[in-house]
Amino acid sequence: MAAVPAISIANLSVDLGGRRILDDLSLEVQRGEMVGLVGASGSGKTVLLRTMLGLLPKSAGQVEILGLPLERAAPREVRAIGRRCGAMFQQGALFSSLSVRENVEFPMREYLDGSDRMFRSVALAKLRMVGLSESDAEKLPAELSGGMTKRAALARALALDPEIVFLDEPTSGLDPIAAGEFDTLIRNLHDMLGLTLFMITHDLETLNAVCDRVAALHEGRIIADGPMHALLQSEHPWLQAYFRGERGRAVQWAR
């Protein structure tokens, strides 16, 4: 089988409220790649992610997930794609009426045929992997702290052992130790499952530690796309400001 890219975006344009947010944007992510997306706040990173997930309409262009254009796919195919993708939203988006464990079990119950015991066992394992304890598992989302909400949301995104995981700022609001554990967790999952990762993040450490490739979004287009060190060498003024600003430098010095 010829390698179908995990994500393929061609000439994508998105308008919101009469304003062009994404302009003729193209990006491809191969299977097993871990790609980070950087860009200023309000540059349209989340819009791009939501368009990829089919949550926002696009004005022009093509988005294919695992070789399937979402807008032309039959409901059954969309469902099949849904099983193979996991998404974690910026605010967690946990179902507020379900406990943390039930949140993680929810996609399993929707998509898989298995016993309660197995689902519970896998859900608890996922929660343990993201650093939540069994006592946290029975809590309701409203009882969680910000960091715990992130972890629970990540556990839910990983519930089905998806092939592609979309993450929107997974480490923002986590303490450095937790963020480091998150990096390790993502690497482990990648090694074990051959996970494809598409991640929006401002966390330079995570970009460094996790991502094979970094794409930079600026003024509606991808202005740079390559390994972290290549982006660090880039002459583009915005990238210079982003990576070689005070905070960016601090990270590099620390290494």
Partner: protein, 377 residues
């Protein structure tokens, strides 16, 4: 589908003396969740030493690892703990996180005969707490209003006008339509039944007294409770969920001043006006039916109306409106402030604001009836 067959998970069992080797093969992955668990349950070798060989597995994920852990735990009961062979280094963290033994069914609350009396008791104490909350809210509103009177700039007129528009002006069309129809219906029923006694003239009295004293105000308030009381609860509830109320508090502002008083005042002003409109629409409806259905001359209708519609009837109806509106708005605010984190509690708050305020309005109507009888109105 042929490819699927090749990847089907299997266990091949071979016995070697007092030991057994379980050779696992195929895809031990999520789509086969039920199958791999069944395999793990069925393969229970009666041997002292068991080796589980994972080298033949094509693909493995957390679900597969879970089934293998279950197999290991179940087989371990018969003798020594089975040995996992050929586990890839990269899979170790997943196995480490899995512990099916702890995934026992969480204890479920048992139903008992005592639940019924317990819930009755709880509901009674809750009703008491509701009454207290209502009085406490009234006190806070009066205090806030008092502060506003001393310093009118604190009364937030733009907010009051905004809510007056939302709960009053925009409610007018539906209130007019609804009360007009009810006026029609009461008149039609009156004419239909009173015809048998030849007392059709009294239908006008019936409609007038009923509308001015009871129906007008009750219908309008019930509509207001469903329309505005619930939206107050939902608005304040979602502000509570998103920590907006806490943000106000930390800025040194009282949410009662900023959010609740303008809403309550707007509703207290809007309700009597809507009631008056509703009464007029209902009487108009009755007049239309009298003309079309009973061929009653509009002049006669107006004459009878003028006799029946005394000022005291109108007063009885209009006096009730602001009091009932106050209760509706306060109930909405209280239920909104009770919302906790979940979407469910927001829905519950909106629902119970409507249910409680309509119930309270009916109770209040009964109390008013006693009061007016005592006053001879």
């Amino acid at each position: 589908m042929a490819a699927d067959m090749a990847h089907e998970p299997r266990i091949n069992q071979t016995s070697l003396g007092d030991g057994a080797v379980l050779v696992l093969s195929g895809d031990w992955t999520a789509p086969h969740a039920r199958l791999i668990e069944d395999l793990a349950h069925r393969a229970l070798p009666q041997a002292r030493r068991i080796v589980i060989d994972l080298t033949g597995i094509a693909r493995l994920d957390t679900f597969g690892a879970c089934a293998i852990s279950m197999l290991r735990d179940a087989a371990g009961g018969a003798g020594m703990k089975p040995v996992l062979m050929g586990m890839a280094e990269r899979n170790a963290p997943i196995f480490a996180a899995l512990d099916p033994a702890t995934a026992a069914e969480p204890p479920r609350p048992r139903a008992s005969l005592l639940d019924a009396p317990e819930s009755i008791g709880r509901n009674l104490t809750n009703a008491g707490a509701d009454a207290l909350a209502l009085f406490s809210m009234l006190g806070r509103l009066v205090a806030s209003f008092g502060r506003g009177l001393r310093d009118p700039s604190r009364l937030r007129f733009p907010s009051i006008v905004h809510h007056l528009d939302r709960t009053g002006v925009r409610a007018a069309p539906i209130v007019l339509l609804m009360t007009f129809l009810i006026g029609c219906i009461i008149a039609q029923q009156g004419f239909f039944h009173f015809r048998q006694f030849g007392a059709t003239d009294y239908v006008v009295d019936l409609v007038t007294v009923l509308t001015l004293r009871e129906i007008g105000v009750l219908l309008v308030i019930i509509m207001v409770a469903g329309r505005s009381g619930s939206s107050y609860a939902a608005e304040i509830g979602s502000m509570k969920m998103r920590e907006e109320i806490d943000a106000l508090r930390t800025m040194g502002l009282d949410p009662v001043d900023v959010l609740i008083l303008p809403r309550v005042l707007a509703l207290v002003v809007a309700a009597p006006l809507l009631t008056l409109l509703g009464m007029l629409a209902a009487l108009l409806g009755a007049g239309v039916v009298a003309f079309l259905y009973e061929d009653m001359n509009p002049a006669i209708f107006l004459l009878r109306l003028r006799e029946a519609a005394t000022f005291s009837h109108l007063e009885v109806g209009l006096v009730k409106a602001p009091v009932m509106a106050l209760v509706v708005a306060m109930t909405g605010a209280i239920e909104g402030l009770r919302v906790s984190g979940s979407a469910e509690s927001l829905g519950l708050g909106a629902t119970s604001s409507v249910v409680k305020s309509i119930f309270l309005v009916i109770v209040l109507d009964g109390l008013f009836a006693i009061l007016f009888a005592w006053l001879g109105m």
